[in-house]
């Protein structure tokens, strides 16, 4: 029996073949000819694939292929304007005259343009529209410009390209996804991920530690990505769109001879260990010192701190091989594009000699795109994407079973061999050579294995019919089908060192998830010139999204023996099943009126209904209006200095719906040993409705010096009323889950700046530079009386809160008593007079003087830093008894952006450089908080080991101990009940994100190898990091890619909690076109 995805693929393939057979019968009519030519870069002569070449006002046109060649068939005899458009280049027109049955040639040399208002976009307007007509921001990422960049997935394509679009990785394991945020967070309780479409079909964009559904799409098959940044632009996408929209367009074929291309990538990756502090400790007795000297093969003295970088044993050099290829071509009425990619990535997690776990990602991706034009009026496009991805990895994140965590927990003085010591820090057999804590050794963690195996099909059929030149109907039917299976395995008897006590007889969990989303989109557009001055464009349409998610899984532990690895073989078993159905439907209408082709006013709206509110609910209406004025397009504008000028403004609403059944009071089931029972689940709220985001933006774009310098600026302002707040009602009322309530308000505003310039251009060299910056400020203005929300629930070390008056995810925690000189006048809270320190060892209620402390430290305290009298004194500034409510920072940067350059020299060489930065934000460094303070799984940074060794050394003087105690208060003490203290740190960074050097082989050399074009590239990713941050990596977040609506998924940002650092990657590739 075939798998459902295979069945679906088979059916669609059959349909495509039938369609192909139908259209292949079309022949060029008598009196029709063809227009052909080549599109190249005017500066370098490089062929430009993917340029749109068309005859304005007709359906005729196509794309240039990998050699820059294009072909327009079935053109009746006559005189035509042929137009070429390409992102980053100025539009070009040529007039050609075509004789009946003949062929005309029009070659184009495009010139780079720092600003291109004529670029055609699809997203946001419902139909294809030039950017200059839209009052809202639409960003376009052109994949063609990234063919040399060190990019292996969609997340990396988005990273650092556009101001206001941020990637938030949870860690650097291979395949670990990145959360995407556009202009921050529009919701306090619903997913803040943008919605994603592939060729017009809504797609599942979930993810976790092992695999990101966003990255399923073959990056080599992507033509471009359009990004709508907020409600003002995304109104027509209705409910769910207030976080923006990402629309991915896959490549399409171009008419002409069959052309195929191949690309081979070899990448090598490694974790940058420079920021990681080595594991440090000290021997407490001479016997310990002797044993440790023998174990580590070096002389270790009692109370003398020593360091061993234990994490090195879980690092290695990773390797990825990727091969991709494509075939494209076309004939009359038909063009096709087929591509495939095979990628095996063995990431930089090491320890493969210790345990069976690997960090790998295997991707098999295939894409088919078919464009048919059976008649002049009918166009049909269909695309299909099939993906099979297998991720494997260790336990990850803030887990006591992660190899990385355990290596960082390790205290070298605790190292012990249960077999022969080899003298190099290793044991001949069983042992705990790193000094891991009670949860297990590094070796044992390398037996816990997680996998995610996903098959996916995304396909669509899109038909367009041009009833009349001004009237067009389009319909799209698509499906996104995900079949995902996740497994976690702890083998029987994996505790080979005899340390771990957890699941030593094995455990296994399995989750199977099948998600199907059907997208239906029907729309009509009516374009007309109402008179000589006024044009009109009307779009009317409707959309429906039908999502069904079925998941089932189970857990089991305690197997009778090794070799059994099925849940049914376990003594204890648990199972679960869930069914979720969501229906969202909307109707939209938009009218755009143009005045003399330089002023465009757009108004429209969308009416939405969603199954979350039940069949009897009324819908929601989201309106929008925008204005675009291009004074430089007015007759008489002839400034060469300011060659292009546009002002734009937009106002629009969008929404976010609550979960499918959040409105209702529900009880769920509970298994007990007396039978099945019920327990409270959802408290219910009959008044629940979507939250509505209102956003306006104003922007200006200027092109200077014949558009060789482009500057853009956009100011935006967003307000979310009726924001859904997950309100915690008193748990003593029995319903302990939070209940959504429309009681919040959150605001945000920002400024986005962009610069693009052709800094230098000559025949042998051109230099383009670009820079962008985005400023953002967000504030939770109202929680409607609900208590503050906290990310990661009761887990005290994550300090991100949603609190009135602060940015979402703001960090709160403990502060030491500060000098009285810094206390505001009138304040009465505790402070330190000159000479006082934040301790009260004599318990007289007054902070100690140095003399007090020296007296106390005359001998080593028996409980080391766990002595309660060495708990530093905290301030309670507002006097409410809560010492953990001091604002300590926020995870969202004030400024973020990127800059870089593209340099072309000697025609064949290109260098691309991208830097990314974030400024004005903080990180909660949980990793080092443990490593500084916790005696069980930390206190093992060099500074902490020194401080404790000094404190406990009987030979230390009181003065030396005083220095250690000062360091304890001001640098090291952290964690409960001092959460936040010495933990929340500035995170500003500048990362050299990408660099690439590519070389186009001379044509004759490429030809000798049978290719028409061949490019060699060497590149690197995450090459260097400059940062204020003292922890492992300033880009880490608490969670991996997640798209749920939890506070944690939304706001546990800027949290470094044992995430694997973001790896460096070096690679080279060969790309050939045949």
């Amino acid at each position: 029996m075939k798998h459902p995805i295979q069945n679906l693929a088979l059916r669609i393939g059959t349909a495509l073949l039938a369609l192909l057979a139908f259209t292949a019968g079309g022949v060029q009519a008598q009196g029709e000819g063809q227009i052909t030519g080549r599109v190249v870069d005017g500066q370098t002569g490089r062929p430009l694939p993917g340029a749109q070449v068309f005859i304005p006002g007709t359906q005729r046109g196509g794309l240039s292929n990998e050699s820059g060649r294009y072909l327009i068939l079935r053109v009746p005899a006559g005189e035509y304007v042929v137009r070429v458009q390409m992102i980053g280049y100025a539009q070009a027109d040529q007039t050609v005259t075509l004789q009946g049955g003949g062929s005309a040639v029009a070659d184009f040399q495009l010139h780079q343009s720092a600003i291109s208002l004529d670029e055609i976009v699809v997203t946001g307007a419902g139909v294809q529209t030039e950017k200059r007509k839209l009052g809202n921001t639409i960003a376009t990422v052109d994949a063609g410009n990234l063919d040399a960049a060190p990019i292996t997935n969609v997340s990396e394509m988005l990273q650092g390209r556009e101001p206001g679009v941020v990637g938030l990785p949870g860690g650097g394991l291979v395949g670990q996804g990145t959360r995407i945020r556009i202009r921050g967070s529009a919701s306090l309780s619903q997913s803040n991920e943008p919605i994603v479409y592939v060729d017009g079909v809504r797609m599942d964009n979930s993810g976790g530690y092992y695999g990101s559904r966003l990255n399923d799409i073959n990056p080599e098959a992507i033509d471009r990505i359009e990004i709508l940044k907020g409600a003002a632009a995304a109104t027509l996408y209705g409910t769910e769109a207030s976080n923006g929209v990402i629309q991915i367009f896959t490549k399409k074929g171009s008419a002409g001879d069959l052309q195929w291309s191949m690309k081979l990538d070899q990448n090598f990756s490694s974790y940058p260990a420079g920021q990681i502090k080595p594991n440090s400790g000290f021997a407490r007795t001479s016997e310990d010192a002797s044993r440790l000297s023998q174990l580590f093969g070096r002389t270790i003295q009692p109370y003398e701190a020593f360091s061993v970088p234990m994490y090195e044993r879980v690092f290695e050099t990773g390797h990825q091989t990727s091969v991709s290829g494509s075939v494209q071509g076309g004939a009359e009425g038909l063009s096709y594009y087929l591509s495939g990619r095979w990628s095996d990535n063995d990431g930089p997690m090491g320890g493969e000699d210790l345990g069976p776990v690997r960090d790998t990602e295997k991707q098999r991706q295939a894409t088919v795109n078919l464009s048919l034009t059976p008649t002049d009026k009918l166009s049909v496009n269909t695309s299909a994407n099939y993906v099979h991805v297998i991720n494997e990895g260790p336990n990850a994140g803030n887990s006591i079973y992660s190899p990385f965590s355990v290596s960082l927990y390790s205290k070298p003085e605790r190292a012990v061999c249960f077999s022969e010591m080899l003298g190099n820090g290793e044991c001949a057999g069983a042992g705990n050579p790193t000094g891991a804590p009670t949860f297990g050794t590094v070796t044992e963690t390398l037996f816990r294995q997680y996998t995610n195996d996903t098959e996916r099909f995304t396909g669509n059929v899109k038909a367009g019919y041009q009833f009349q030149p001004e009237l067009r109907l389009e319909a799209t039917l698509g499906v996104d089908w995900v079949d995902e299976r996740s497994e976690g395995i702890t083998p029987y008897g994996y505790n080979v060192d005899g340390i771990s006590t957890s699941d030593t007889l094995g455990s296994r969990n399995v989750t199977a998830r099948r998600r199907k989303e059907i997208s239906v989109d029907v729309k009509g557009s009516w374009n007309a010139d109402l008179n000589e001055n006024i044009t009109s464009s009307l779009v009317v349409g409707g959309q429906g999204f039908f999502t069904t998610t079925k998941s089932a899984g189970g857990n089991g532990n305690i197997f009778p023996g090794p070799g059994i690895n099925v849940i049914s073989g376990a003594q204890n078993r648990d199972n679960n099943e869930n069914f979720l159905q969501v229906v969202n439907g909307g109707l939209f209408v938009q009218e755009q009126v143009g005045f003399r082709d330089y002023l465009f006013l757009t108004a429209g709206g969308r009416y939405d209904k969603n199954s979350a509110f039940g069949e009897t609910s009324t819908g929601v209406f989201y309106p929008k209006v925008s204005l675009s004025v291009v004074p430089s397009d007015r007759a008489g504008w002839d400034s060469e200095t300011l060659s292009t000028l546009r002002f734009r403004a937009a106002l629009g609403k969008s929404g976010l719906q609550p979960g499918a059944f959040d409105k209702f009071t529900t009880f769920s089931s509970i298994a007990t040993d007396v039978g099945a029972g019920l327990l409270p689940s959802n408290l219910g709220n009959p008044d629940l409705k979507p939250e509505v985001s209102t956003e306006w933006e104003f922007g200006v774009e200027g092109g200077f010096f014949q558009d060789r310098l482009g500057l853009t600026a956009t100011y935006w302002d967003r307000s979310v009323k009726d924001a859904l707040v997950p309100r915690q009602f008193a748990p003593s009322g029995g319903f302990t889950n939070e209940q959504l309530d429309n009681i919040g308000e959150v605001t945000g505003h920002g400024l986005e700046l962009g610069l693009n310039a052709q800094a230098y251009a000559s025949e042998s060299m051109s230099v383009n530079v670009f820079a962008n910056a985005a400023y953002m400020k967000e504030e939770v203005t109202d929680l409607g009386g609900a208590p503050p929300l906290k990310a990661q629930g009761t887990y005290p070390r994550v300090r991100n809160f949603v609190k009135e008056g602060y940015a979402p995810g703001a960090m709160f925690g403990a502060k030491l008593l500060q000098p009285c000189s810094q206390r505001p006048s009138g304040a009465t809270y505790g402070c330190l007079e000159s000479g006082q320190l934040p301790y009260d060892t004599n318990q007289d209620g007054i902070p100690d003087s140095e003399a007090d402390l020296l007296a106390y430290l005359a001998s080593p305290p028996s409980r080391s830093f766990d002595d309660p009298l060495l708990n530093p004194l905290l301030v309670d500034e507002d006097g409410n008894g809560d010492v953990l409510d001091h604002y300590l920072g926020k995870p969202t940067p004030d400024w973020q952006g990127s800059f870089g350059t593209d340099v072309t020299f000697q025609q064949n060489f290109r260098i691309n450089v991208l830097f990314e930065y974030r400024l004005g934000f903080e990180i909660t460094d949980i990793t080092d908080a443990f490593r500084q303070a916790n005696s069980g799984i930390g206190r093992n940074t060099p500074r902490a080991a020194w401080a404790e060794a000094t404190l406990l050394n009987p030979n230390s003087t009181a003065q030396e101990r005083l220095e250690a105690v000062k360091a304890w208060a001001y640098e090291l003490k952290a964690l409960s009940p001092f959460s936040g203290l010495n933990t929340i740190k500035p995170g500003d960074f500048l990362r050299w994100r990408e660099v690439s050097l590519s070389y186009d082989l001379p044509g004759d050399l490429a030809g000798r190898m049978g290719a028409s074009r061949m490019t060699l590239t060497v590149n690197a990713r995450n090459l260097a990091l400059w940062t204020k941050y003292e922890g492992n990596d300033p880009e880490l977040s608490y969670l991996p890619r997640c798209t749920d609506s939890s506070v944690s998924c939304n706001f546990a940002d800027g949290v470094d909690a044992y995430g694997w650092p973001i790896p460096r990657q070096f690679g080279f590739s060969i790309r050939a076109v045949f």
């Binding site: 529900t666 007396v674 953990l884």
Partner: protein
Amino acid sequence: MLDRAKTGRVARSSGRRLGSWAAMLLLAGLLTGCDSLFDVENPNNIKGEDTALPEAANSVVNGAYGTVAKGLAASLGVYSPITDEITYIGSRDAWGDLNTGIVSNPQNEFLNVAFPYIAQGRWMADEAIKLMEQHQADGELRDPILLARAYLYGALAYINIADTWDDFALSDRSEAAVPVGEESMGGLYDQAIEYLNQAMSVAQAQGRDDMVLTMTALRARTHHARAMWDMLNPPGTTPSNPLVSSTSAVQDARAFLAMNGSDEQWRYTITLANNDMVPGGEITLGHNMNDRAELQFGADLVDTDPDDVASITGIALMDPVDGIPDPVVTAKIAEFQDAFLYTVITIVSAREMHLIVAEGELASGNTAEAVAQMNVVRGLDGLSDYDPATSGLTPMEMLVHERRVNLLLENRRLADMYRFGIDSRYWTSTSDAMTTPGSFLTIPQVELLSNCHILGSC
């Protein structure tokens, strides 16, 4: 300025535009008319109102049992680490705070996890009682024992709350309630006794002697706990006479022993279902001691491997009479470890009844009877009789020992430590347990910030 091709033509008829609008309206009508499209299935839950159906009675009472069981497991998870029964060896320092005797920090993460579990159990039990009483009044209660069971689970919840927390609120759904108040928490025992009386009445009427036996033992244990609570409140001092003298407790205990006959190993327990892989959340002792290794039995009870403190190498606590590793502790730890995640929680036992009688007799001066009762218990494990004259231990010291070992991990030890003036080796000098004996767990942040009566925002 760029030259732009003009391709459209002036609209010749406004009718087409009107047609487009008409089409839009038609589509809108279809969307609003197709309401059934938006009626989706939810097989994951049942609607709240359906719990009131007589057909749901059994599931509601089972739910009360299940939530109370999780609540008891959760309470035990945060109570035991305060005592010398448990020590902290792991990574999550909020366990360490409890272990050092800090019980008044409302931000302690584990209090914030445990409180909702027992709160939900309490509410669900009261809801079950309300619904069963309603069904009975309507003549629709098919099995009257369901009502008795609901009362029983209600009693278990109230007893546990009074044993464990310094204060509590008895809210209902979204309606927050004024906290009971520290000075009134003893009243929860009275409520439990009332529930037990009601349950006993139903059980007797239905001829369920087994349930009557259980209720009797529970009532004895509740009277004893109530007397202990009176002794320890208001907190801050160690009572000069720590012995409980409760006639009601002794009467019920004796009544139980008379009914129970020779089944001296009798105990009423609950077991967390083994089809729930994380029973009672992440804070159960089974998870944190047998699996995750955050907690370990205290050093007074066990010896551990210095290279691997999660590994027990022997029993440290000796029987004071025979000088051997205490067999009760040995057996209880073995049972606890064997159960892995699904530990058995003993609610009350025949052993405890003997000890309640022993304590009552000791308080009233009948040392011989007290010793006899304790020796019955000792005999169950083959231990020699205790003789005050030869052992070097006072009867009260012996009672303290017997309660320590026989009620191990049964949510009793902290009250005993307070009343008998026993300090844990893990308590720090500035901790609540040391400075204010009699302190139990405070209402945590999760309730403090969501209960408008506490916030003063109602």
